[in-house]
Amino acid sequence: MQAIEYFEVECTEKLGGEYYRQIANDVLLDHNLLRVIHKIHVYIDPKVPIFVAVGVLRKVTTLVKVGDIANVNPQEGKLTLAISDETWLAPMLKIFWDRFGKEHVDQPDRFTVILYGVTAGAREIEEIAIADPSKALYKDLVYALRCICPEGFRVRSENYGAEKFSFVASEDTLTDAGMALLREKFALMGETP
């Protein structure tokens, strides 16, 4: 898994900043977002109060295909799939049932799926797309940033683009100064908003 290239938590309170670094790390890890975030900078000033998170996303990996999660072994009259990653097993089975019919799909154990009497070849099966992880990505990212942000900061301005995201939150009405912080923090990462 690729690590985050830039991960900084800046806070006016030293100890508070350390705790928030740990919180950000835990939340991103829990939501499996470390692989999609390229750079992230978090800034918190509880005195103002303001919370800013800016970041750059990695190019999200393409569709998950059968070949990514299983080895397809052609045998006489059947194709045996040895599953290596269960994450996408349910959507894969659903697609097989729709395409080949339930009578042609069997799952004798947790890590094995057998396709009986299908006309498609092994290569063709491997190329079947089963999921699009980028669909859930933005939902997860929005949720994760709201989790990291202190709960009392309920006035938010969020922006999620294809490559970059920004998140500003405060207890009070957001001012231009708060929004200017966004550009400043993007600049720290060597990026522009």
Binding site: G16, Y19, P46, P49, C147, P150, E151, G152, D172
Partner: protein
């Protein structure tokens, strides 16, 4: 007779002998848990008889440990019931104090979060005041804690232990009005407490709670209660059969100076008042029976000797 709180942990086999023994010695069983083949009894027993119980329990694979939190009801006050504060650390701490014998209730505030917007409403205040001690679980920033604590402590009459992200010395400096206990470096976090240093922190919280409760016990001992809440619990259990039908894990929750009875106030308050404890003395003579802010329960507050001139 001085009663001390202990926990007996042993096999189910012949555990009734231990229950009989504790009752015969004049002790009280506060809670009984049957977990698979194990039985856990949280009880008050005479101080001089702890060794006897330990000796009799030994052949039955029983183990007796001191549990200073048995017979206390603790409010774990979380700033909200959102994912930010739950399940870690609020549930971790609530569960940890429960393991040591306390009955813990979690109080999730409606507007405990933030700095300027934080507030405490009358229901929250009254519910916290129904407990023996309140453990406030705060966030990580000094500025926020300093700013909101005067509001969150307004009207709180029970001892408070404050847990927060800053160091203990900082908490002692910034929290106004001053409270009874402080535990630093336990603020908001988003992972389970399983590392050894985190478990040490939980032990530190327990030690602080125990210290504060001991001080409260000392204060109570100077003007003893008219009747022990544990005894009152036994009397109610014997004379109000309806309590046996309550499905709550602790239908009668013993506190340091009272009791929570999980029966409807309107129906049972008068019944409780008229129950005779001994020699014509009724519960209503030595205790205040009030409606609890928690559901429609009853809260019994035992009056001290100085008010009733009676000790039974």
């Amino acid at each position: 007779m001085i009663l001390v709180p202990i926990t007996y942990r042993g096999g189910v086999y012949r555990h009734s002998e231990i229950i009989d023994l504790i009752e015969d010695l004049g002790g009280y069983i506060i809670q009984k848990h049957m977990i698979a083949q194990e039985v856990v009894l949280q009880c008050f027993v005479p101080k001089d008889d702890v060794e006897l119980i330990r000796a009799i329990g030994k052949p039955l694979a029983g183990e007796v440990t001191d549990s200073p939190l048995v017979g206390t009801e603790i409010a774990v006050v979380s700033m909200s019931l959102e994912i930010h504060h739950l399940p870690h650390p609020s549930c971790d701490i609530a569960e940890y104090v429960r393991r040591l014998g306390a009955k813990s209730n979690m109080v999730g505030m409606a507007r405990g979060v933030g700095k300027r917007i934080a507030g405490l409403n009358d229901e929250e205040r009254d519910i916290i005041n129904e407990h023996d001690i309140a453990v406030y679980l705060l966030g990580n920033f000094e500025t926020c804690i300093e700013h909101k604590m005067p509001v969150l402590l307004r009207g709180i009459e029970v001892p408070v232990v404050v847990c927060g992200g800053p160091d203990k010395e900082v908490l002692q400096r910034i929290v106004e009005p001053k409270v009874e206990g402080y535990v630093g470096n336990v603020g908001r976090f988003m992972h389970r407490t399983k590392e050894s240093e985190e478990l040490t922190k939980l032990d530190e919280i327990i030690a602080e709670i125990t210290r504060v409760l001991s001080k409260r016990r000392e204060a109570l001992a100077k003007d003893p209660l008219s009747v022990s809440p544990a005894r009152l619990m036994d009397v109610i259990r014997e004379q109000v059969p309806a309590i046996l039908t309550v499905t709550s894990p602790t239908p009668l929750t013993v506190q340091m100076s009272g009791l929570r009875v999980k029966l409807p106030y309107d129906t049972y308050a008068e019944v409780l008042r008229k129950i005779e404890i001994e020699d014509g003395i009724k519960i209503g003579d030595i205790a205040d029976i009030e409606p609890s802010r928690m559901r429609d329960y009853i809260i019994v507050r035992v009056r001290p000797f100085s008010e009733t001139n009676t000790v039974i």
